[in-house]
């Protein structure tokens, strides 16, 4: 599981993102027009790509794309997320 693949998947998921728009330090809630719908799309994308299901509290604990990547990797490796 590499963060570059994670970022590419996110950029492909949203119509208004272009390659290079997202970095590990990007604050995902600063995306243009951020709403609860974006949050659901992130969770569905992570579930579909990595078979990891993030709940609302876990998502709330994340600020950057890197945080999302870390919590996904932790859960993928069987660790309990702190949320």
């Amino acid at each position: 599981m590499e963060i570059d693949d994670f970022i590419i998947a996110i950029e492909e998921e949203f119509d208004n993102l272009n390659p290079g728009d997202v970095s590990p330090n990007s604050v995902f809630r600063n995306m243009e027009g951020w709403s609860s719908m974006h949050a659901l799309i992130f969770v569905a994308l992570i579930d579909s790509k990595y078979d990891v299901l993030l709940n609302g509290d876990e998502l709330k604990s994340c600020v950057t794309i890197n945080d999302l990547f870390d919590i996904t990797r932790l859960k993928l490796n069987g660790g309990a997320a702190k949320a």
Partner: protein, 350 residues
């Protein structure tokens, strides 16, 4: 464990009714153009049907049932009427009793409401089977419908554009030679607050609360008398429990996913149904969707999808179907059944 092998029941007809009035996602005045596009792309909802102010869920189910009974000419053989709804006509009496009279069913007919939402149709099929299985009753009329739009606040972007209204009627009868059905269900009441109308019943009677509108999140305005939905909690619940329940039914039936003709899921939203479908490794064509035209129609979404998407196949083919309803409660139920020569109709309510 709520897992059962069911015998001796056949589905004879499924009729659905939708209101004429169409609400399009792109016309929702509280969405920007981008929001409307994203909502439609994510939920799959292009438009939905909304019942007029004076039309209830029982009215839509009545039309479906009346047409079905006339076509099948079997009023006098209905021994049980079950009405699955979370939008009944009154606190009391049960709407099923009113429908028994309006439909001209015999006074020897049992009638009761079942207070379940998105999982309710599948639970209703189980109830019908339980009463028919011993051969004591002749025919069961299962009505499932909701007018969810009466409960949503127009300025709640998370709920108002999601729900549509619909009613349905399903006729079931004893069938000594019918193939076995397989059932699995569960409940997780810890999710009760994820889809809830807090006020208006015994816990919070109307006179006891402040029903002022509150902006609970940007663009999400409602009061306690309106339906509130936590989309993230619902998504997590569905992805955790629905694939497991579907697999439980397949295991009971000793079938593989690819042996199903169709998996018909409650039409919660496209993001959820696509995620479940992918987990089950099923192609799109085996998982029919009607949400684009009707939105989330709660207890009616499965029969409505059967009528709108599988009408020809239900009439002409022998089908192995897996139906799965899931949602408010949280509650879920899955049923694997065989069908043959099922009459269907999709009608509009004037």
């Amino acid at each position: 464990m709520a897992q059962l092998r069911l015998k001796h029941t056949a589905v004879k007809a499924i009729y659905s009714v939708i209101p004429k009035m169409v609400y399009k996602t792109h016309d929702y005045p509280y969405f920007s153009e981008d929001e409307a596009k994203m909502f439609a792309n994510t939920t799959g909802i292009i438009e939905r049907r909304v019942a007029a102010t004076n039309v209830t869920a029982s009215d839509m189910c009545f039309k479906a049932a009346q047409t079905l009974l006339e076509d099948m000419n079997c009023h006098h053989e209905i021994d049980l009427l079950v009405f699955v709804t979370q939008s009944p006509d009154y606190f009391l009496p049960a709407s099923a009793a009113i429908l028994q009279d309006k439909l001209g069913l015999p006074k020897t007919c049992m009638a009761f409401d079942v207070n379940l939402g998105c999982s309710g149709y599948v639970h209703g099929l189980l109830l019908a089977n339980r009463y028919l299985q011993q051969g004591g009753l002749r025919k069961v009329l299962l009505l499932a419908g909701d007018k969810s739009t009466i409960s949503t606040h127009e300025q709640d972007k998370t709920a108002f554009p999601l729900f549509g209204d619909a009613g349905s009627a399903t006729l079931l009868e004893y069938d000594a030679k019918g193939k076995d059905w397989f059932f699995d269900a569960g409940t997780d009441g810890s999710g009760a607050n994820a889809i809830i109308i807090e006020a208006g019943h015994s816990r919070m009677p109307y006179q006891s609360f402040d029903d002022q509108d509150i902006e609970v999140a940007p663009g999400v305005i409602r009061s306690k008398k309106h339906l509130a939905i936590d989309g993230m909690a619902v998504f997590n619940f569905a992805l955790k429990n629905v694939p497991k329940s579907i697999n439980n039914v397949l295991d009971l039936a000793k079938l593989r996913t690819e042996q199903l003709d169709y998996l018909v899921l409650h039409q919660a939203n496209q993001l959820i149904t696509d995620s479940i479908r992918k987990k089950m490794n099923l192609p799109k064509e085996k998982c029919p969707s009607s949400i684009g035209n009707f939105g989330n129609t709660s207890s009616a979404s499965i029969p409505l999808t059967l009528c709108s998407e599988l009408s020809e196949a239900l009439k002409k083919e022998r089908l192995c179907l897996l139906l799965c309803g899931f949602g408010v409660g949280f509650s879920w139920a899955s049923l694997l059944l065989s069908t043959h020569n099922v009459a269907t109709k999709l009608l509009e309510y004037d």
